[in-house]
């Protein structure tokens, strides 16, 4: 086929362009739907609770991912600083995942439990009051804004479509009880979403304000669960290598 022929025939050129640029996608993306053996079989990874989902949404809304990654790579320096490298299984319920590619701030993949709730409140409100050299912006409105949780059920339904096992039917609920235990299964039940959110918020009181449920509450609930779901003491290190 002559070059001139393609250039003077726009429909043909369009078809050929589509063919060429889809090669990369077809080769790199399509097989991922068939390769299940890279997903580590580990216990403990569960979907986020309603409060954590709202926190995650706020994380995305505030653009935290622009400065913070959530992916610890299997390198020695990252291992020493942040802890165990991230597993594929750990972000299987993240839609979209928050791996990120920019570390202006530190990686947050294993932030959960590292600092107290009180520290997070103080640090999000005024980062430099606890870390003088920080360049992170202040997020004071997180404490001012009451959390809007009316639509949390719809958010869970949307995630359910992508394959996150939030339950609607009794059978799904029972399956979750089997897999995660009753307490978590209740949290993953879409029909009880608002009550579950309120229950977790009142029980844990992440923001330190007992009579209010703020956006800070949800965000800290999310931050405190990051990277804590897998108990790495259960596994020997060679186990994770087998999935590569």
């Amino acid at each position: 086929m002559r070059h001139e022929h393609i250039e003077t025939n726009s429909a043909l050129m369009l078809v050929l362009i589509l063919l060429v640029i889809s090669i990369g996608g077809l080769v790199e993306i399509v097989p991922l739907f068939y390769i299940n053996e890279t997903l580590e079989k580990v216990d403990g990874v569960r979907p986020y609770t309603p409060l954590e989902i709202r926190g995650r949404d706020i994380y995305v809304r505030e653009g935290c991912y622009l400065c913070h990654s959530q992916q610890i790579r299997p390198f020695r320096d990252e291992w020493l600083r942040y802890g165990h490298y991230s597993l594929a299984a750990e972000s299987q319920y993240d839609h979209p995942f928050q791996w990120g590619s920019k570390r202006t701030g530190p990686d947050l993949a294993r932030l959960g439990g590292k600092y107290s709730d009180q520290w997070h409140v103080q640090h999000l409100k005024a980062p430099r009051s606890v870390v003088p050299q920080s360049i992170m912006p202040n997020y004071p409105w997180l404490l001012d804004n009451d959390l809007d949780y009316k639509d949390v059920g719809s958010r869970m339904r949307a995630l359910r479509i992508t394959g996150v096992p939030y339950s609607v039917t009794q059978a799904e609920y029972d399956a979750n009880v089997q897999k995660y235990g009753q307490a978590i299964a209740d949290q993953l039940d879409i029909s009880k979403a608002q009550d579950s959110l309120l229950q977790q918020a009142r029980e844990k009181n992440f923001d330190g304000l007992p009579d209010r449920i703020t956006e800070m509450e949800a965000l800290i609930a999310y931050l405190q669960v990051l990277g804590t779901m897998v108990d790495f003491t259960q596994y020997d290190e060679g186990y994770f290598v087998e999935f590569r």
Binding site: Y34, I35, E37, P74, R76, Y115, W119, G238, R244
Partner: protein, 318 residues
């Protein structure tokens, strides 16, 4: 027009055109890439073929090309506790284990870590070489894990996080106590007295507390405050002790040493302001605001050991 365009181009005629013309006279110059560049490009294409086979690359069906490179690493089997030597196709996870396990990397560090692991606290503190190691490695560990609250140098934030450099220890000054703090975390607690004591009683207690550290002079109010502190009404002595020096088992503060960890007394200029900060704090109490997380699941036993010694020496003790 045509003439003008021509004169702006090289007139030698050395540059050829691609040979086709659009709209009658629209032609394209043909400037081929330098030969060396083109051959380098072909070279990288050939190289990539070899590269695919050496490292994991193409997905094929429900698996992928695993490459020919191998990595050997040792891993401890959880069930039997035995070390196993394994060799797998090249991947970054195995590579990390190989690097972490390889004694040839950073031999001095490995050697010192083993030495620290084997030694008890007394031996570590007495050995200048080990202490030097503790100071250098501990600084990194402290920066990664502790500095967010306690500050880069361990200076803390008054009212929020204890200063670790002043040799004033809420939970006990021994390395074993610091070790305990690191392992299990701490949750500082003081009941709120706002409902129990009347405002004037709070005033009196604040006045008394200030006399303990010579911030206020003896007075009638202070005497009344002492009666509340030492008596059943306030019962402050339950936790802070009759001598007000605190009990490390409860994490209660020493009120006589002029070191203020929560109420920022030194920052206040007048006596009234000093009283006000103490009063406010006695009325509200401390509840879930002085929480230190537990580190036993996050850091290795050796790291916690190193940190305990590091933190102790921050406080001035060697």
């Amino acid at each position: 027009m045509t003439d003008n365009t021509n004169t702006s181009q090289p007139s030698s005629g050395a540059v050829q055109t691609t040979g086709h013309a659009w709209d009658g006279d629209l032609q394209e110059y043909n400037n081929p890439l330098p030969r060396w560049w083109l051959w380098s490009f072909y070279g990288t294409v050939v190289f990539s073929i070899f590269y695919w086979f050496i490292y994991p690359s193409w997905p094929v069906g429900d698996t992928w090309i695993k490459g020919f490179g191998t990595v050997a690493y040792t891993t401890v089997d959880k069930a039997t506790g035995k070390e196993q030597e394994k060799e797998v196709r090249w991947n970054t996870r195995a590579l990390l284990l190989e690097e972490l396990g390889n004694a040839a990397n950073d031999p001095q560090r490995k050697q010192m870590l083993a030495k620290v692991e084997a030694a008890d606290y007394e031996q570590i503190v007495k050995d200048p070489k080990m202490m030097e190691f503790v100071r250098s490695v501990g600084k990194g560990l402290f920066g990664d894990n502790c500095a967010a609250c306690h500050g880069g140098g361990g200076q803390g934030v008054v009212g929020l996080y204890p200063n670790l450099t002043d040799d004033d220890w809420l939970w006990g000054s021994g390395i074993d106590k610091i070790h305990e703090t690191l392992m299990q975390g701490r949750n500082g607690f003081m009941p709120a007295f706002g409902q129990v004591l009347k405002p004037e009683q709070l005033d009196d207690v604040a006045e008394y507390v200030l006399t303990l550290s010579d911030e206020a002079l003896q007075s009638e109010a202070a005497e009344r405050g002492k009666a509340i502190f030492q008596g059943q009404v306030g019962g402050c002595y339950y936790c802070h002790g009759a001598d007000a020096k605190g009990l490390s088992a409860l994490g209660s503060a020493n009120l006589t040493d002029k070191i203020w960890t929560i109420a920022n007394v030194p920052a206040q200029k007048t006596l009234e302001d000093k009283k006000a900060v103490i009063k406010n704090f006695v009325a509200k109490g401390v509840h879930n605001t002085r929480t230190m997380p537990a580190w036993k699941d996050r850091l290795s036993p050796t790291d916690i050991k190193l940190l305990a010694v590091y933190v102790r020496q921050l406080g001035g003790a060697q």
